[in-house]
Amino acid sequence: MSAPTFLLDGRPVAFAEGQSILQAAVAAGAYIPHLCFHPDFAPHGSCKVCTVRVGGREAAACTTRAVAGAVVESDTPALNDERRALVQMLFVEGNHFCPSCERSGDCKLQATARDLGMTTPHYDHFYPDRPVDASHPELLLDFNRCILCSLCERASREVDRKNAFALSGRGIRTRLIVNSRTGRLADTDVRATDRAVHVCPVGAILPKRRGFATPLGQRTFDLKPISAVADSSAEIEEG
C-alpha cells in the first residue's frame, strides 16, 4: 500500500502517520518557509513563518498534522505577504546589520527575507540594548541577532545534554540566557563542537577566529535562493 498524501499547492506530498505538514514537506524536498523548525527536533511552532492555509484557516505547518487528502496552500501572494511581515518583525525586534555579519549569505533569516522579496524592514526598529557576550574562548554570542527560535536551547538539552541555553523574560522583553551563575557563556560547559552551537539559523552563535573562509557572494544562499536549496532545513556550515 502506498503512503497517504496531501496536496501542497497542487502537488501531492507523501507522509508517514503522525508527521506534520512541514515535516512531510521537508522530507519530500518541498519548500515551505520556516525558521524555528529543524527536522532533527520536535516542532516548536513559535516563529509562525511556516503558516499555511489548510481546511479554510491558517495554521503553522510545523505543528499541524498531515491528513490524507488535505489541500494545503503555501506559496500564495497573501501568505507570502504575511510571512514577509513576520520576517520584518524579526528584523526590527533585534539589531540585524547584515553587511557586517559573518553569517551573511549563510543566514536563514536573511535568505528567507530575500526569498520573500523583503526590501525594507517596514516597521519602526525597537533598537533593543543587547550586549554581546565575547567571554567564551571559542565562541561569540551576539544576542542582537537572536530570533528566539530556541533551537540552541532544544539542541543543548536533547543532544548535548547540557541545558546551556534558555529563554528568559516575557513578551517583547524575551531574551536568550545562558546557564551560569555569572550569566557569561565562558562559565557554562558549552564547547564549539556542541550541536547547540551549530544549529543556530542566524549569526547569534559563532565560532571565534574564523572569518570569511568563503567570500561573500559565494555562500550557500548567495548562489541559490533558500527555496531552491535542497535540505535547507539542516545546518548550513560555512565553508
Binding site: 516542532p43 511552532g45 513559535s46 516563529c47 509562525k48 513563518v49 503558516t51 484557516r57 491558517e58 503553522a60 505543528t63 504575511e82 511581515a85 513576520l86 518583525m89 524579526l90 526590527v92 525586534e93 516597521y123 519602526d124 525597537f126 528566539l148 541545558n163 546551556a164 541555553f165 534558555a166 529563554l167 528568559s168 523574560g169 516575557r170 513578551g171 517583547i172 522583553r173 524575551t174 540566557i177 545562558v178 546557564n179 551560569s180 551563575r181
Partner: protein, 606 residues
C-alpha cells in the same frame, strides 16, 4: 507574611523552607519562587543556588521561570513594592494622578527603586477591584477605594518604614457588593448537600445530567462542561486531574473573587462533583497572585471540608472516592488564564500556551487527562447536581442555559456583581446599575466586544454576547480611542513572547496607537493598524494574540470619529518626535524652559 522592614531573612534558608514545604518537587518551582519572593522581597542569587542544587534544575531554567512572572524579581525592588492597577476603570477613577502624587511625595520615579531601596512605584494589569477602584497592590496586598488623602497616608507609612502588618487593616478591606442574586448566589445549601445529591445519582448519571443541563464554561469560551468531563473520564491515562481556573486576569472581571470570598464552598463542592464524574483524585485551584488575600480563607474552607469528610479519603464514607485540592498561586501573568499555559505554570514552567492538540482533557497536567474549568462553572455544577438538568436548563436561553455573574464597573452609580439568567439585555443591566447616559459598554474585557449605545438591546449569552463577566460602562464624555489604547497596552504587556506575531505585533500595535495619540497619525497608520490586526488574528499562537486587536477593530468599526480625530496629517509622518526625544536631555539637565524645547516651525524646517 509580608516582610517589609524586618531583618532581611537568609535567602538560602527561605529557599530551603519553601522547598521543604513543597516536598522538593521541581514541578512546584513557581510556588517555591513565590515564597522566596515573599520572604525576601526578591529572589537573591543565594536562593537560586540553593534551589538549583536541591531541585536539580538548570539555573537558566529557574531564571527563565522567575523572569516570566511580573511579581517575581531577580533584582532587588523596593522594600515596599507599590503597583497601581492600570485598568481603564482605574484610570477613569483617577489612578494616574494618584500614582504621580505618590511618586512626587516619595521622591521616586515610576518604575524605579528609590535611592535608599525603600520603595518602588509602578503599574500592573487590572487587579480585579474594579468595583472599588482605584486600586493598588503593596507587596502583593490589595488596597482599593484610593483617594488623594489615602495616598498621602500611604506615603507617610512608607517614609516611616511602618511594617505592613501595622498598617490599618481597614485599608486592606475588600468589599464584595452583590447587587442582584439569582439561582446561584441566592442558592444556599449546607456544605455537602450537592455532593450527596451527586453521589445519589452516581458518577455516570451525574455526567449525563451535566450534559443534559447544557451547562457551558463560564470563562467566556463556553465549551460544554458535561462533554469535557466525559472526555477526560474516557481518555486513557494512569490518573486524572481537575483544575479550577481562578486566574481571573481579564481586565474588568472580578466575579471569581466574589465567588471565592462569599461562596467558596460551592466552588470546592463543584470541583468535588467534577472529581466524582471524572475519577480525578487530585485537584488544583490556580489562584491569581492578585487574589492572594483570599488564600487564608480558602485554606480554612479546605481544612473544614476535610474535617467534614467532604474532601480527602473516602469522601462521605464512599470507599474509593478520594479527592483533595491544593491551591497554587499565580505571580502576575494574564496568559496563564489560557488552560494549557495554566498547566505549564502548575508544572513549574514559564506560562506559555502549548501546541494543541493534544488538548488538556487527554494530555494535561503531567501529560495526564485534565479538566480545567472556570470558578463559576464549578459552582454552577452544584445547582445541576442539586436540582437536576431539567430545572437548570429552564434557566436562561435555549443556547445559554443557567445564569451568569456580571462584573459591572465604570461609569455607573452601583458597580458590583449582578447575577442574571442568560439572555438579559445590556439595557436592563445598565438600568439596574444606574449607568445613565452610557456611550458604550465593553463586554467580557479587552478581548471581548465594544458595544455602542445603539446596540444596547443585545443580550448576554453565547448566541449574542458571550462574556467572562465584565461589563465596563463608558459615559458620554469618555474617549473610546483611549479605552482601546489602554487595552492594547495591556496585551503588549501580557504577551508571553512565544510566537512572533504576538510578541512583536502587540508592541508594534501599541506603538502605532501611541503614535496616533501623540498627534502623528495619518491615513497610512490607519491602514497599517488594520493590516497588523489581521496578521495577529490569523497567525498568533493562542487566544491572547487572536484577540489583542479586538478592542481596536471594535472601536474603529463603531467609533471611527475617535480615530479620525487623531489623523492630524494627510501624508505619512514618522513616529519620531524630536521634542519628545529630547525629554531625557531635559530631565538630565533639569531644564524645562522654552529654549529646551524644539518649536513646531523649527521642527518643520529642520
Amino acid at each position: 507574611m509580608c516582610s517589609a522592614v524586618r531583618r532581611e531573612p537568609d535567602p538560602a534558608e527561605a529557599a530551603a523552607t519553601a522547598m521543604a514545604r513543597h516536598r522538593h518537587d521541581p514541578h512546584e518551582l513557581v510556588q517555591v519562587l513565590i515564597e522566596v519572593q515573599e520572604a525576601c522581597g526578591w529572589i537573591p542569587p543565594p536562593a537560586i543556588d540553593c534551589i538549583q542544587a536541591r531541585l536539580g534544575l538548570p539555573r537558566a531554567r529557574i531564571l527563565g521561570v522567575a523572569t516570566f512572572y511580573a511579581f517575581l524579581h531577580i533584582f532587588p525592588r523596593g522594600r515596599y513594592r507599590i503597583l497601581f492597577s492600570d485598568n481603564i476603570t482605574d484610570r477613569m477613577l483617577g489612578s494616574e494622578a494618584l500614582l504621580q502624587r505618590l511618586c512626587r511625595s516619595l521622591w521616586v520615579e515610576r518604575g524605579r527603586v528609590s535611592e535608599d531601596g525603600l520603595v518602588s512605584v509602578d503599574t500592573t494589569s487590572c487587579t480585579g477591584l474594579c468595583d472599588q477602584g482605584p486600586a493598588l497592590l503593596v507587596n502583593g496586598r490589595a488596597m482599593g477605594r484610593l483617594t488623594p488623602a489615602r495616598i498621602d497616608e500611604v506615603a507617610e507609612k512608607v517614609r516611616e518604614a511602618v511594617p505592613l502588618e501595622d498598617w490599618p487593616a481597614a485599608w486592606f478591606r475588600v468589599d464584595d457588593p452583590v447587587r442582584r442574586r439569582d439561582a446561584l448566589l441566592s442558592g444556599t445549601w449546607p456544605p455537602g448537600e450537592a455532593l450527596r445529591a451527586g453521589l445519589a445519582r452516581g458518577a455516570e448519571a451525574l455526567v449525563g445530567e451535566v450534559k443534559a443541563s447544557r451547562l457551558r464554561g463560564r470563562g467566556g469560551a463556553g465549551f460544554p462542561t458535561g462533554q469535557k468531563w466525559a472526555a477526560c473520564r474516557d481518555a486513557p491515562g494512569r490518573t486524572r486531574y481537575l483544575v479550577c481556573n481562578a486566574d481571573e486576569g481579564e481586565p474588568g472581571n472580578f466575579k471569581d473573587r466574589v465567588l471565592l470570598s462569599t461562596a467558596a464552598d460551592a466552588v470546592i463542592e463543584g470541583m468535588t462533583l467534577g472529581a466524582l464524574a471524572t475519577g480525578a483524585r487530585r485537584g488544583f485551584l490556580y489562584l491569581r497572585g492578585e487574589y492572594r488575600f483570599l488564600l487564608a480563607h480558602l485554606e480554612d474552607v479546605l481544612a473544614r471540608r476535610r474535617a467534614q469528610r467532604l474532601l480527602g479519603e473516602s469522601i462521605l464514607g464512599h470507599e474509593g472516592f478520594d479527592f483533595d485540592v491544593a491551591i497554587h498561586v499565580g505571580a502576575g501573568a494574564y496568559v496563564c488564564g489560557e488552560e494549557s499555559a495554566l498547566i505549564e505554570s502548575l508544572e513549574g514552567r514559564r506560562g506559555m500556551p502549548r501546541n494543541r492538540p493534544p488538548y488538556p482533557v487527554t494530555q494535561g497536567y503531567l501529560g495526564e487527562p485534565t479538566v480545567v474549568n472556570n470558578v463559576e462553572t464549578f459552582a454552577s455544577a452544584c445547582l445541576v447536581a442539586l436540582h437536576g438538568a431539567k430545572w437548570y436548563a429552564r434557566l436562561g436561553t435555549p443556547e445559554s442555559a443557567g445564569t451568569k455573574l456580571l462584573c459591572v464597573s465604570g461609569d455607573c452609580a452601583r458597580p458590583g456583581t449582578y447575577e442574571y439568567p442568560f439572555g438579559v439585555s445590556l439595557r436592563e443591566v445598565l438600568s439596574d446599575c444606574g449607568a445613565g447616559e452610557a456611550q458604550a459598554v465593553q463586554v467580557s474585557g479587552p478581548s471581548g466586544a465594544t458595544v455602542p449605545a445603539a446596540e444596547f438591546g443585545r443580550r448576554i449569552g453565547f448566541e449574542d454576547l458571550p462574556t467572562a463577566g465584565a461589563v465596563m460602562v463608558f459615559g458620554r464624555e469618555r474617549d473610546l480611542f483611549e479605552v482601546a489604547r489602554n487595552f492594547v497596552h495591556f496585551f503588549a504587556h501580557e504577551s508571553c513572547g512565544f510566537c512572533t506575531p504576538c510578541r512583536v505585533g502587540t508592541s508594534l500595535l501599541r506603538n502605532m496607537m501611541d503614535k496616533l495619540a501623540h498627534g502623528h497619525g495619518s491615513p497610512y497608520d490607519f491602514a497599517e493598524i488594520e493590516r497588523l490586526n489581521r496578521l495577529l488574528q490569523v497567525m498568533s499562537h493562542c487566544g491572547l494574540g487572536h484577540s489583542a486587536c479586538n478592542p481596536v477593530l471594535g472601536t474603529i468599526a463603531k467609533f471611527r470619529p475617535a480615530y479620525q480625530r487623531r489623523l492630524a496629517h494627510e501624508e505619512f509622518e514618522p513616529a519620531f518626535d524630536l521634542d519628545r526625544a529630547l525629554a531625557a536631555a531635559r530631565q538630565m539637565t533639569g531644564r524645562d524652559d522654552a529654549a529646551a524645547h524644539v518649536r513646531e516651525e523649527e521642527e518643520g524646517t529642520a
